[in-house]
Symmetry: C2
């Protein structure tokens, strides 16, 4: 029988979902970023749960405060992708026996900081003893059924766009996990993305309000996997013609003979939004994101064919494989 590392996280989730009775009349299907329950008058209660495990999700040098904050931010990012404002969090924390009182307090402060940064609150939780640090967060929000941006609404011809830039986190993780070097000023910028990730909540809320987004996902498993997931749920493909890669990633890649596009595509733990936008509403979406203090960059087009393709100017087209961050796979 296959062990779990052969299956990988996505297959494990699929197996479990296959064994569950599906709730009737559910407004958001299994496989999207969030779950929801109708509460009447076109409104929904919206939920997401995401678990941080010390061993796999906390890179070297990340403080407990940062890890706890990140556990909250991971969940906010999924809400950002759906255009739902987080209201409150429940948090279960498993503490290793070796932790000190001050460690517990760092976790408490980090959780609170993460929630307050997005104008939400921790309203409940549980603790227990575990071998790893475990922080399992559930985020709660409310929204109208019409306004939630699912993974499944993208249509051929839509603009493919992203917030922010890509490759900083995967570069930062290479510095931390593979001990690659980088000049100080670059290193600091890259590590900041790892230690203090931001969820694109303002951008996500603005995009949902603009009604220009037809589908959306966050890039927490890496841009490549996010595109495959968005494509699968919307039954479309993508041609990527541009990648917003910042100078520090180009420089880092150059130093180590790496392809900056690989850093941008096959990373993970990066919390940008990947969205499909109605062509006729592109300007509106662009302006809405800018007004919210963010950036929206066109990186390609939604296609009918179920393939994810990289086709940079003047180059041959290349397939973008389903590859990136996946639990159990490493």
């Amino acid at each position: 029988m296959d062990a779990l590392h052969k299956l990988g996280e996505y297959e494990i989730v699929k197996r479990i979902i296959g064994l569950l009775d599906e709730m009737p009349d559910i407004p958001v299907t299994f496989g999207d970023d969030v779950s929801a329950i109708r509460i009447g008058r076109g409104r929904m209660a919206v939920f997401k749960t995401d678990m941080l495990v010390g061993k796999t999700d906390v890179p070297p040098g990340m403080s407990l405060w940062q890890a706890a904050r990140k556990a909250v931010v991971m969940n906010v990012s999924d809400f950002a992708a759906k255009g739902i404002k987080p209201i409150a969090f429940l948090v279960s924390v498993g503490f290793p026996r070796t932790f000190l009182e001050s460690d517990v307090e760092d976790v408490g402060r980090g959780l609170n900081a993460g929630a307050r940064e997005y104008d939400a609150y921790i309203i409940g939780g549980d603790t227990g003893e575990s071998s790893d640090l475990i922080i399992s967060c559930t985020v709660i929000g409310f929204g109208s059924e019409r306004s939630l941006v699912t993974r499944s609404g993208a249509s051929p011809g839509d603009v493919l766009a992203v917030t922010g830039t890509f490759g900083e986190t995967s570069s930062g993780l290479k510095i931390l996990l593979e001990k690659l070097s980088a000049p100080t000023e670059i290193k600091e910028k890259l590590l900041k993305h790892v230690y203090l990730p931001k969820a694109r909540l303002k951008e996500g809320l603005a995009l949902a309000r603009s009604r220009a987004a037809t589908a959306s996902i966050d890039s927490s498993d890496g841009l490549a996997i996010s595109l495959h997931q968005l494509g699968s749920m919307s039954d479309v493909g993508f041609i990527v013609t541009d990648l917003p890669i910042p100078p520090e990633v180009e420089r880092f890649a150059d130093i180590h003979g790496l392809d900056p596009r690989d850093l941008a595509l096959y990373g993970g733990e990066e919390y940008e939004l990947v969205v499909a936008i109605k062509t006729s509403l592109w300007e509106k979406a662009y302006r809405a994101t800018k007004m919210a203090g963010g950036t929206l960059t066109k990186i390609g087009t939604v296609t009918k064919e179920r393939k994810v393709i990289l086709k940079m100017k003047g180059e041959e087209e290349k397939s973008i494989p389903f590859r990136g961050w996946e639990h159990f796979k490493r």
Copy 2:
């Protein structure tokens, strides 16, 4: 500095809560069994999260199916105490690398069984890799603000009552963890309480509907701790004059020279309800519980003095200490 096992779970939770900004206008305070958010027109969305850790919460001989089911039932029990019907669950599962595909499927089936047993559904979740088996469940429900039975409404003079009987689980855990012996027919009954705990949902919903309960808690940390917590949140005390101990617990205690009252008071992982009932509505509460298929037994009285006292017929009164199941403490 104190390590966590010196602090214990309750002090750890207190420390963390002390570091959190409290959400304004929250209908249920920190320290109750559930959290809630007002959703308008007197209604609330109600939540509870509880985490099962293989190492501390899964006794020897419990199957993965049973452990997963129990992780759900633990959460249902808190809703039962508040008189709130569970609608849906989110579940984060941490799987050890050594698990097999069939183990994953057992967990999936157990989760589904636990939810369906109480007419609810699993609607979302997350998985990751961890050293221990981790099952963190969040349960979601809705209710009117008036009907939720908090921990804080008990008044001196109220009847103190419980559902079911006590001592089976602690006896069963002694068989499993301390290898104490028991005749087969008794052993089977006791172990069933450990492996297949039931939440008193029908009873809890009936009690809430009867409007006879002034305060309620489940006995998952043991009857003694539950009484102390109920007393602390209601600013009252209790005189316990009776304990519903079944014959198999009496027999088990007799065989091993144990005090059956200790087994009933200082156990844990037992999911009965501990409720305060308005004296004038006792008959109504009793009948409502019976109609729901359960039992409600008067075990004492709510007192003004903030003490928890055992005063059995013809005996001296004795203090019931805050002692029972607490994470990190063992």
